[in-house]
């Protein structure tokens, strides 16, 4: 009985923070990489595309681990993620629009 891992009454279970710190180091590493690219690369297309990809990587880890969405049921994950597709549409639509405003001006 004394050898079980369950907490005894009145005693608090041990903290389990390994995954949290792992996510922290990933986020810090990706941000550091962004800084490295910001200071060293001057290729515009490379910069913009890398920054966008790294931003999405960071967003994934914040939503999946910190907000715990990865560990929710599928119905909840989908009902949060599917509406975000509208944003993708809006990005494409308005970037094209902005470009043509510049041409018309």
């Amino acid at each position: 009985m004394g050898n079980t891992h369950a907490a005894q009454p009145g005693e608090l279970p041990k903290a389990n923070t390994k995954a949290i710190w792992r996510t922290f180091w990933i986020l810090l590493g990706v941000t550091a990489l962004e800084f490295l690219i910001a200071f060293t690369s001057h290729n515009k297309m490379f910069r913009i595309s890398t920054f966008l990809i790294l931003t999405l990587v960071k967003a994934f880890f914040i939503v999946a681990e910190f907000m715990h969405l990865k560990h929710e049921v599928k119905a909840l994950i989908l009902s949060v993620l599917i509406p975000v597709l509208f944003i993708v549409w809006l990005v494409i639509a308005l970037m094209v629009e902005g470009d043509s405003i510049l041409v018309v001006r």
Binding site: L12, A59, V84, G98, D99
Partner: protein, 247 residues
Amino acid sequence: MASHSVSTSAKVNLWGGGVEPMKASYGKLMMWFFLLSDTFTFSALLITYGLIRFSNPAYTGEIKDFVFSQEYWPIPDMVFNGIPFFHGVHLPLVFVGIMTFILIMSSVTMVLAVEAGHRMDRNDVQKWMLWTILGGIAFLLCQAWEWTHLISGTEAGSLVNGKIFHGANLVQNEYGPPAFADLFFFITGFHGTHVLSGVILNIIIFYNVAVGVYDRTGHYEMVEKVGLYWHFVDLVWVFVFTFFYLI
């Protein structure tokens, strides 16, 4: 006789009522859907930034020859290059890097508070909530400095409507087209308002934790809900950071 008894076999109607199809409480679900709607608001603002930036000419010359002008969109490195106590030194991205680190760090302390809540460890929740609040306040102070820096402008200034103008407001802007400053103040201001309300919510929950409300209710779910909001604020900053400061 028992023809109408409830079937307890494997086939449970998930959406027929009586069960939680999302396996999440009402409050947590509504927080998710609120955050989804807020995602649309912030996306609309950031996409507007993209649209207006794309409809203005970009700077095409060498970076070392860059000067502020009303003719083209400014390079962010040249605008956001100050840090406190180093007046006039060109240090691009350093200060915003500090701000990003503060916000990521406070997100970590928040998730540590949520984890401590799962263990019903009141002292740990209290400790990590306090760090989160301090991180939020530190971020807001940094943002206040950043705004002041942008509003007061550089010593040289630049030519706006035939006159030398220093700094930026909603009508005139030494760094580039007025829309650049408008969007900066509006988007970082809207994000800062979210940070401020997050800090206030955190303080309320911290108070409840400290007086033992959640020990009496038997769970720390409120900490999880404000945690979701706080991480969302961090998430938005990740995007603001990329679009305003990096690209």
